[in-house]
Amino acid sequence: MKKFERFEGVVAPLDRANVDTDLIIPKQFLKSIKRTGFGVNLFDELRYLDEGQPGQDCSNRPLNPDFVLNQPRYQNAEILLTRRNFGCGSSREHAPWALEDFGFKVVIAPSFADIFYNNAFKNGLLLVRLEEDEIERLFQETEEREGYALDVDLENQRIITPRGEILEFDVDEFRKHCLLEGLDDIGITLQDDAVIRQFEQQHREQRPWLFR
């Protein structure tokens, strides 16, 4: 996992509550054997006018001009601003995979579904919870100004708006540490690699027949 560094990114507003994982990445795409490449099918039903199929070339599909991510001003967005209970529904890890593959590094909302919250951090995606009124303000400011970007500073747990307003947020210490250090579950276990090696050596001496 890549280390999460402070950055300034363009915000895309998705003005909708209870966005479920089916909407984030519809189930026909789960058959894939990959964990990358889901970006073109992120929000597939909202983004395109036809029904998407796995493995299809999406460059010629009819786009829904009303969908926010199809507007030129949000093309390079790295921050998704949305409403409450984002990521509800099935537990698929494909949801954070799709968001990241599209280019999002952060999702900001008043609240997130539990399993999605876990899965997102495990995959290096930062989720930021802000108050409803703060979210409301961000929506307004994003609409008003093209290229509206936020400065995300995880180290100090704050977001800085172009006007210089500072919005502080809470995040679990351990999750923050993992993101900043670029540690996934495996990375955390591998911090103990000396302990594992020592155990393995002893185990091999005691029961050599298990190693073949």
Partner: protein, 483 residues
């Protein structure tokens, strides 16, 4: 030192690190891989630029969606018609080649269902921790091993670190005491256990199966019992080591030899629960009360003896049970109080990681010998669990018995157990199946699965409906449980 259960011993022997948050790292000795749950794990490794920790701990094979007809198999991977299935199988081949992991490819004689080939190769040994991205991994616990089913992200974790991040479970013992009646098999025992404790009865526990009836089972029978621990809610099922275990392992390709064999056997003899070990829960069944079982519903706990009948939802103990029974009967197209022996069948499937080993095929063949599959049965198929099981069965002439009786004799794989390949039930069709799950749609959309033993499945194929295998004339079924 205080008394320990078998599970406690296996846990302690593999505990690498206990963390403060209650989770623990345990060392994994054997990792079995198949094509469905491994591709994203390998991709994860690649993206993170990691390598497998210890190559020789891994053993791979394609089983879930390989075709089972000889014509398709003759073409190798190209015989796989479904593009998604093909990609999965091809990807496993590519990954194993790239990383140097041993794989039994589609037409290797050693290919087969992961839970059949591990023990068959001696790759599953007593005292091991065994994991696989498949919920029926508990099968390997029959050898006094600690075997867990795991998910895709855990597959990646095990590949990269040789450890599983997990939490210790509680101890449960299921004792089956006494002698099993003639015609009553391991499958009937485990179905009866699930019928008694329910599909959530083992949740949070590691189950040790014990008692004189369990001890009397062959290794094949013990694997059948442990295989279905997950249907009783437990991720882990196991049986203590004894002579039967040790005899089975001798001379298998991955088994230790020479002095190592002696040392290993001495070590394995300790893989039993101490006499005064304490269990958090103990359940006891009386072996002579168990009759051949048939599931009538859409959950493995919806099961009864062959002399029984479909329950009347009106008689259910509470509203929730009543509703689930009503729903199950509707899906299964059965009437309340209908006799089990009156259930007419359309298809018969003998196979799966529960019942596709040589002994299972022998039991079924004994019943089928010299008989004909009933005219209302559209398809009766026998799918051996591995290429080696198939070869052995052919050496014993079992294939001829099945073919002459009107069964199809197939190539090894999971097949109609989960219908990922072309072998499926049609909507509304009733199937006597030796597999482990009777969920709605499991064997095909709208398909109706009845779980039974191999002998009961063969008897049902001949009769066209369920019959009590114990009522058949002497030479056929009476010795079905031996062999």
């Amino acid at each position: 030192m205080s008394a320990k259960t078998l599970y406690d011993k296996l846990w302690d022997q593999h505990l690498v690190k206990q963390r403060d948050d209650g989770t623990a790292l345990i060392y994994i000795d054997r990792h079995m891989l198949h094509e469905v749950t491994s591709p994203q794990a390998f991709e994860g490794l690649r993206l993170a630029k990691r390598k497998p920790w210890r190559l020789d701990a891994n053993l791979a094979t394609a089983d879930h969606n390989v075709p089972t007809t000889l014509i398709e198999r003759a073409e190798g991977n190209k015989g796989i018609k479904d593009p998604v299935s093909l990609i999965q199988v091809q990807t496993l081949d590519d990954n194993c080649l790239e990383y140097g992991i041993t794989e039994f490819g589609i037409n290797d004689p050693r290919q087969g269902i992961v839970h059949v080939i591990g023990p068959e190769q001696g790759a599953t040994l007593p005292g091991m921790t065994v994991v696989c991205g498949d919920s029926h991994t508990a099968t390997h616990g029959a050898f006094g091993a600690l075997a867990h089913g795991i998910g895709t992200s855990e597959v990646e974790h095990v590949l990269a670190t040789q450890c599983l991040l997990t939490q210790k479970m509680k101890n449960m013992q299921v004792r089956v005491e006494g002698e099993l009646g003639l015609g009553v098999t391991a499958k009937d025992v485990v179905l009866a256990i699930i019928g008694k404790i329910g599909t959530a009865g083992g949740t949070g526990y590691a189950i040790e199966f014990a008692g004189s009836a369990i001890e009397s089972l062959s290794m094949e029978g013990r694997m059948t019992v442990c295989n279905m621990a997950i249907e009783a809610g437990a991720r882990v099922g196991m049986i203590a080591v004894d002579e039967t275990t040790i005899d089975y392992i001798g001379n298998r390709p991955y088994a230790p030899t020479a002095e190592q064999w002696e040392a290993a056997v001495a070590d394995w003899r300790n893989l039993v629960s101490d006499p005064d070990a304490e269990f958090d829960k103990i359940v006891t069944l009386d072996a002579d009360e168990i009759e051949p079982q048939v599931s009538w519903g859409t959950s493995p706990e919806m099961v009864t003896g062959i002399s029984g009948q479909v329950p009347d939802p009106e008689a259910a103990l509470d509203e929730t049970i009543k509703r689930s029974h009503v729903r199950a009967l509707e899906y299964m197209g059965l009437q309340p109080n209908q006799k089990i022996t009156d259930i007419q069948l359309d298809k018969v499937f003998i196979g799966s990681c529960t019942n596709s080993r040589i002994e299972d095929l022998r039991e079924a063949a004994k019943v089928a010998k010299g008989k004909k599959v009933a005219s209302n049965i559209q398809l009766a198929m026998v799918v051996p669990g591995s290429g080696l099981v198939k070869r052995q069965a052919e050496e014993e002439g079992l294939d001829k018995i099945f073919i002459e009786a009107g069964f199809e004799w197939r190539e090894p794989g999971c097949s109609m157990c989960l219908a990922m390949n072309a072998d499926k039930l049609g909507a509304g069709e009733h199937c006597a199946s030796t597999s482990n799950r009777n969920f709605e749609g499991r064997q095909g959309y709208g398909g109706r699965t009845h779980l039974v033993s191999p002998a009961m499945a063969a008897a049902a194929a001949i009769a066209g409906h369920f019959v009590d295998v114990r009522s058949l004339p002497a030479n056929d079924a009476n010795h079905a449980q031996e062999a």
